[in-house]
């Protein structure tokens, strides 16, 4: 028997070794998985790199009123504004590392482009209603934790929370302000391709919905905190 093994073609031996490694790597993960989470052999990558786009909904920023003081001490409105951070689009980059079969940590960076917007109305002299804007760029760096709670043949469903720092710049780059940002959300990963070997073990897409909590940054006064819905989609390379 030993002599027979020694006569196996070299290519067959290499495949067998590769298969053994995959099984060994999968074994601890398989033990750690809960009942709902299962998946085909060959999926257990340690690093995920995601690159994609995001959309963040508007955040109300309250109102400002240009008041004059009337002789009786009451306020006479010269004009008023309703302010918001308009919806913003951006680019996300995430690097995730699996700590267990179901839990991973992520480092995320994003650049978002939107607008600060002020709707001017109630002009004392009847000037036309006007919406005035300025561009807003937002850079964020976040740390996140994601937990896969459901795993199907090609789907991973997960929940995720993150917290981080942001820097916002006005459109003319003359105003810069920093703040904090956090998110909670849920999403799915759909694996388009699973390969048992090779540097890239899986490729897929990721879609998630988030609730973004933002504090500080460029804003209209003390209404700097706000909550907005967001959605993000990305392409994943699992290494």
């Amino acid at each position: 028997m030993i002599a027979a093994v020694g006569h196996l073609p070299k290519q067959v031996v290499l495949r067998a070794v590769a298969g053994a490694l995959v099984v060994l790597a999968a074994a601890p993960s398989a033990r750690a998985q809960g009942r709902p989470v299962s998946g085909p052999t060959g999926r257990e990558s340690r690093l995920d790199l995601s690159v994609g786009a995001s959309w963040m909904g508007p955040i109300g920023q309250g109102t400002s009123t240009a008041n004059l003081i009337a002789p009786d001490g009451s306020m006479l409105t010269l004009f008023s504004t309703r302010n918001r951070l308009a919806p913003a689009f951006g680019v996300d980059v995430l690097l995730g590392r699996a700590l267990t079969a179901t839990f991973s940590v992520e480092a995320a960076g994003a650049w978002t482009r939107g607008e600060l917007e002020s709707r001017v109305s109630s002009d004392f002299e009847g000037a036309d209603l006007t919406i005035v804007r300025t561009a807003l760029s937002r850079f964020t760096i976040e740390g996140a934790g994601a937990w896969v709670f459901q795993r199907r043949e090609r789907f991973d469903a997960f929940v995720r929370g993150s917290a981080g720092w942001m820097r916002e710049l006005g459109g003319e780059r003359v105003l810069v302000d920093d703040g904090l940002v956090g998110t909670v959300g849920a999403g799915v990963k759909y694996w388009l391709r699973v390969r048992p070997s090779g540097r890239v073990k899986r490729t897929g897409v990721r879609v998630e919905g988030r609730v973004v909590v933002r504090s500080g940054g460029l804003s209209f006064g003390d209404r700097s905190a706000g909550i907005a819905p967001a959605v993000a989609g990305s392409f994943i390379l699992a290494l």
Binding site: S64, T65, A66, N67, L68, I69, A70, P71, G73, M75, L76, L78, F79, T81, N83, L116, E117, S118, V120, D123, F124, E125, G126, A127, T130, V132, R133, T134, G170, G171, E172, V174, L175, L218, S219, F220, G221, D222
Partner: protein, 337 residues
């Protein structure tokens, strides 16, 4: 009641000052070498006398106390170097006669020229340097006055009117940050305002003008601000145009969207250029309106052509003001009425 100042000739000069001059109406003069310079006190404290005459309802000591409070209001503007000193009571008249004394007090000035004038300010100016040497403020004793802490019905508040006149004493012109309506008598009634330096006073009994507004503070800071004020604040600069031409005298108002604070100024060149300084860093809404809420001559000289035939207009962008810097130059295009 209007509060005209005796500065019409000086205002002409400021009106034609070139770009770079702050948009607050600062009084100025042409000095010996032909330069236009803003009127400004370079030697401080500014020493002043108070007339020792009583009027009905206000004794000389009460007058002095009210004037002292009014000076204190301006001296309290943060990041400025404005100091005053009461020297004593005097029998001198509060009319500029070349005595190099700054005198404040009541004087009776009846007649049509002053029938609507509660008070006025005059200056002695060094014509070589533009330095202010002395300034007199008169309060027209034809009217009824009060120094009551809460004001008195049908009586004008001494402290409120003196705060306004001290603004002139410091070299500030009028602000147009207010709305009025023309009455059948031909007089204008204040509907609302947000600057002590607005040329039309609140009705008798009102004490609102004891307190400076942001617009007044910006003007004082622009003239007497320290280096710290310059670094902490920024400015908005630009042009107002109508059919491509500059619009001299257009009234520009900016709203700090964070605080609701209003500040204003004027386009002060033939190209319609304006600069509004001493603004807190932040995002601003910029609005332009015609100068139609007061007598044009309260702001500029009679022979100055000010077009008021255009619509109130907003600049299409929010304007960012950085600390210690200026917004990019903006152009606000207005449409004719």
């Amino acid at each position: 009641m209007t509060r005209t100042s005796a500065a019409s000739i000086v205002l002409v000069v400021v009106a034609f000052a070139g770009p770079g001059v702050g948009a607050y109406l600062k009084l100025g003069t042409e000095v010996a070498d032909g330069r236009l310079v803003a009127l400004r006190w370079t030697r401080q404290p500014i020493r002043y006398y108070v007339t020792n005459r009583d009027v009905v309802g206000v004794s000389a000591p009460e007058l002095q106390a009210a004037i002292n409070r009014a000076f204190g209001t301006w001296a309290g503007v943060p990041n400025t170097s404005i100091r005053f000193e009461f020297v004593g009571f005097t029998n001198a008249e509060p009319s500029n006669d070349g005595d190099r004394l700054s005198v404040i007090g009541f004087q009776s000035r009846p007649g049509p020229e002053f029938e609507r004038t509660l008070g006025a300010t005059q200056w002695e100016v060094d014509t070589m340097t533009g330095e202010l040497l002395a300034s007199d403020i008169f309060l027209n004793s034809v009217f009824d006055w009060s120094v009551a802490p809460g004001g008195a019905a049908a009586r004008y508040d001494v402290e409120s009117i003196v705060v306004h006149e001290i603004g002139h004493l410091l070299g500030l012109g009028h602000s147009a940050l207010g709305e009025t309506e023309l009455q059948s008598s031909g007089r204008r009634r204040v509907l609302g305002k947000r600057a002590v330096m607005f040329p039309i006073a609140y009705p008798a009994g009102n004490i609102e003008d004891r307190t400076l507004e942001a617009d007044d503070i910006a003007g004082a800071t622009d003239s007497y601000g320290s280096g710290g004020a310059t670094q902490a604040t920024g400015s908005i600069a630009g042009r107002v145009t109508l059919n491509g031409s500059g619009l001299f005298g257009a009234h520009v108002t900016v709203l700090d969207t964070a605080t609701g604070i209003l500040t204003s100024g004027f386009a002060l060149s033939a190209q319609g250029e304006f600069v509004i300084g001493s603004l807190a860093p932040g995002l601003y809404v910029v609005r332009v309106e015609p100068l139609d809420d007061g007598d044009k001559n309260s702001f500029f000289s009679e022979d100055t052509d000010v077009n008021i035939n255009f619509k109130a207009t907003y600049y299409a962008r929010l304007v960012e003001v950085p600390a210690g810097g200026a917004s990019g130059s903006i152009e606000i295009k207005v449409q004719p009425k």
